[in-house]
Amino acid sequence: MGKNLVGNHIRKLRFNHNEMTQQQLADKVGVTRQTIVALEKGNYSPSLELAFRIAHAFGLPLEEVFFYGDDTSH
C-alpha cells in the first residue's frame, strides 16, 4: 500500500493547540482515534467533509492543514 499523496500538519497543529490529544481531536471532528492515527501516519486521505471539519477544529483554512504532494511551505 503506497503512501497517499495528500499530506497534513495535524500532528504539529495538535501540539500548537495546547497539546491537544488525538482522542480530543477525534471527538471534535466525530471520528475514532484510529482514524486520526491513520491520518497522521499518511495512511489515509480523508473525505472532503472530514478535511473541512479538521480544519475548522483548528480554526484554519483547509490549505493550511492539508497539502497535496510534497509540502514546501512549512
Binding site: 500500500m1 503512501k3 471520528v31 475514532t32 484510529q34 501516519k41 489515509y44 486521505s45
Partner: protein, 148 residues
C-alpha cells in the same frame, strides 16, 4: 496495536477455531458407509444451517468477551460507532470476501457439470464460505495496519 486490529485478529482466530472444531465434530457424524441422495441433502443442509447458527452465537459471545478483556487491559472503551475509515475498510473487506465466495460458488457449479459427487459440491461451497470469511478478516487487518 489498536482496537480494530486486535478485533480483526480475534475474529480471524475465532473463525478458524470455530470452523475447525465444528468440522471435526461433524466428521464423526458422517456415516462410514456413505449417504444416499436424500440423506446426503439432509446431512449437508443441516451442516450448513447448524454451522451458521453456531458461528453467529460464538462470534457474539467472543465479541462480548473481547470487549470486556479490552476494557480491563487497556482501560479504554471500545469505539461506539463506525466512522468513514471503518466503513471504507468494511466495504473493501466485503468486496474481497464476496469475490472469493463467488469463485467458490462457480467452482462448486463446475463440479456438478463435471459429474463429481454431491459431497464435492457441498465441500467446495462450505470451504469457499469459510475462506471468504477469513479473507474478510485478513483484508480488515491489512487495511487497518497499512492504510487505505
Amino acid at each position: 496495536m489498536t482496537y480494530q486490529e486486535k478485533k480483526s485478529i480475534t475474529a480471524l482466530i475465532s473463525t478458524v477455531l470455530i470452523f475447525a472444531a465444528y468440522c471435526l465434530y461433524m466428521y464423526t457424524q458422517y456415516p462410514e458407509e456413505g449417504l444416499g441422495l436424500e440423506e446426503g441433502f439432509r446431512y449437508w443442509g443441516s451442516f450448513v444451517l447448524i454451522l451458521m447458527v453456531v458461528s453467529i452465537v460464538a462470534h457474539i459471545v467472543i465479541s462480548i468477551i473481547f470487549n470486556i478483556i479490552f476494557r480491563m487491559t487497556t482501560g479504554e472503551k471500545e469505539p461506539a460507532f463506525a466512522d468513514e475509515l471503518d466503513k471504507l475498510i468494511e466495504l473493501k473487506a466485503h468486496r474481497n470476501s464476496f469475490f472469493l465466495f463467488i469463485l467458490g460458488f462457480l467452482l462448486a457449479m463446475g463440479s456438478l457439470v463435471t459429474d463429481q459427487p454431491l459431497t464435492v459440491m457441498f465441500v467446495i461451497l462450505i470451504a469457499s464460505g469459510f475462506l471468504s470469511d477469513v479473507t474478510g478478516s485478513i483484508t480488515k487487518l491489512y487495511h487497518y495496519r497499512r492504510g487505505v
